[in-house]
Amino acid sequence: MSDLTLFKMALRDLVRAKRLIIAAILVAIPALITILWRMASPEEFDSYDTYNTLSAVLVYGFLLILLSVIFGTGVISQEIEQKTIVYMLTRPVPRWRIALVKFAAAFVGIVLTVWLATILLAFAAFGVGGHEESAALRFSDVRDTSQLMQRLREPQDELSKHLQSRLQDNTLRWIAPDAWQKRREEEAKSERKLDAATTSATSPSPPLPSPPRAGRRDRIGRRVRGSRPSDDRVERLAISGINDTLRNDQGFFRAERFNGVELTPETKSLINKRPSGRELTRLNRLLIEQAWPDLIVHRAQPTFNLGKDLAILPFGALAYGAVFLFMATLLHRPLMYGLVFAFGWEAWVPNLPDKFQMVSIMTYLRTLAPHPRPSAESVDIIQFLSGSNQQTISTTVATTVLVSVIVVALGMALLLFTNREYVPREDSE
């Protein structure tokens, strides 16, 4: 009876007007971003990628942790600060039980909020305006990256040559420096020709170094100064470059370019349609898939598992909540330390090399609720934050670790709460 009253009171405390507004904004953010993305680039929008990226970065990586910090530490720290904790601590209810009931209310608050955010996100990604799938290449669609890079570096067939020729300077430079050099020389030559033509037309005086040329050289000069990006980055640039071609190149299909390639009926009918937009991307993707079946995988059904996310989120809430409750029972300013842990530790550690990842809760949550890598052209920071999937940790290990974290953190928290004094030192009586 008293547990229920306390639970209700704690829950009601969570939905106070001010907090509700902030919570509503937080809940809506992933969905709003999705809608904006869809509006900003309707051609490239991919429901699956958007959902997976935003779920990993915003729901798991931000909302879940943030709410866990606030609600998890708030279970007791707010009452300690306000000193109202004395009312709780002088009741004939065991202290561990008070903490547990209040923790349960916080847990429900966290879970309902992240669930709502996830459902809204899913609805925005798949529901509003239908679900869209981009046929662009993902990083994971390439079976053998080094082989692909090799083909772009030293094109042997027509397709490779075409792809290389369409790469932008900045990409080509890192993949095939020779080809890039050649392109620059040719460009310079043609520009000189052009310059000569324009100067001779206006005046007979000898050509002076024209401002545009100086500017261009400058621009190139600045580029040259940059250091070579990592292999991984170059590979992503390459895939991004190929995707540009797939999306925009209406002349991608040429009979001689795909000579000897066995095209499926679907591809052939698309060729006849001379499509544009999304269908063009799909056609070009099918063409490259069928031309290089050894290199490019057939676009598989992308993963989207709302049920799994909804199931794993409470698990995460429990783990984070327990850790933050523990902090609140132990430390003086738990919210501050909690935020440092949440957005310092938990944000960076999962991206550290193998062994280091093991000391972060997020690593295990990602194992349980994987969100496949977004396609190559996604913004880098998101790429980085969402990190790579950990294939090295098994689900069993992840589950065991998380359960242990929950049990130990919660147990320690309840034990501490039972035995420590929570009366602020009396400044003056």
Binding site: L6, R16, Y87, L89, V93, R95, E429
Partner: protein, 325 residues
């Protein structure tokens, strides 16, 4: 006067079965002393814990209500160690000094929550909540949010939550703070009612006259030490070895002065220059003086128009004890 000059505390008027006992209890906050080597026994009835701000009253009450653990010594309430002890809390009510409360709750919800946590069965809770709210005079305002309460209203709901489970031991930290005279009277009535039922009621205060009107049983604290415990008269008798002043106004002040100086226990007689006809007598044995004085007056036919002892007032006892007067 130094505190060590006091004779050992006696417990003559304290019930045989103390409900609260402290044995050489000390509590430090780091380097700061909260209370220092306090020993006392508190039984049924109203006991006032008296002392200036910073005397250690709140610390002592927090030790009794199981929020703090003593650094050294022992605290027992109803024979049990109180820290986080639900068996103690079942029979203990506590009205803390803090003004903060659950501002978003109504007074009634606040009392209901704490009442249910105090173990009052659901079927009786509603009636019981209304009862105590009535008792503290908050029926009219009980459904408003605490955030909008005056200091006095907060004080009342705080008391309501403390008495809702009809505790045997009731501890109130500065319960008169913020109350108007009417509120004080009502509060006093509530506490007397509890005391009449044989409960142990401990009230802390730094204002003497609040306490004076309510109980004669006091614990006197200053700078973390317990200076004295007992009846206000008893405490006075503790200081009887020190001069005790009595002012007498009479028509024949010279004649009376002469008589007084004959008494062996009168130390000095002084005429008050500001009040003609008033003499101030210093005695180290007020009890004896009070017994014999009426006889002397009657025998010699003195007309006494006023008779008062500034030392009989708790405030001066207190000031005297703490060396301020």
């Amino acid at each position: 006067m130094t505190t060590s000059a006091l004779p050992p505390v006696t417990t003559a008027r304290i019930a045989a079965q103390p409900m609260i006992a402290l044995e050489h209890t000390s509590r430090w906050y780091g380097q700061v002393i909260g209370i220092n080597d306090v020993s006392c026994w508190i039984g049924a009835g109203i006991t006032a814990l008296l002392g200036p701000n910073g005397a250690g009253k709140s610390t002592m009450l927090k030790l009794i209500t199981g929020q703090l653990k003593p650094t050294t010594g022992h605290v027992s309430v109803l024979g049990l160690e109180p820290f986080a002890n639900t068996n103690v809390f079942r029979r203990l009510g506590y009205c803390p000094e803090i003004e903060n409360s659950y501002d978003d709750m109504s007074g009634r919800d606040f009392v209901t929550l704490l009442g249910s946590m105090a173990g009052i069965p659901a079927n009786r809770l509603r009636t019981r909540v209304s009862e105590v709210i009535e008792q503290v005079g908050m029926t009219a305002n009980s459904d408003r949010k605490i955030g909008g309460y005056s200091k006095g209203m907060r004080q009342r709901v705080k008391v309501a939550q403390a008495i809702i489970h009809d505790p045997d031991v009731l501890i109130l930290d500065e319960p008169f703070n913020g109350l108007d005279p009417l509120g004080r009277r009502e509060m006093s009535a509530v506490l007397h009612h509890m005391a009449d039922l044989g409960k142990c009621v401990v009230v802390s205060s730094h204002i003497l006259y609040e306490v004076e009107q309510m109980t004669h049983n006091i614990l006197l604290m200053n700078r973390g030490r317990l200076l004295a415990q007992g009846d206000v008269f008893h405490i006075r008798s503790l200081i009887d070895q020190h001069p005790h002043r009595i002012a007498i106004t009479t028509t024949d002040s010279r004649g009376l002065a002469r008589r007084m100086l004959d008494l062996p226990y009168v130390l000095s007689v002084r005429f008050d220059p500001l009040r003609p006809g008033t003499l101030e007598i210093e005695t180290h044995s007020p009890e004896l003086f009070y017994t014999q004085f009426p006889e002397i007056v009657l025998d010699h036919g003195f007309v006494v128009s006023s008779f008062e002892s500034p030392d009989n007032n708790l405030e001066s006892v207190f000031r005297y004890l703490v060396g301020a007067g």
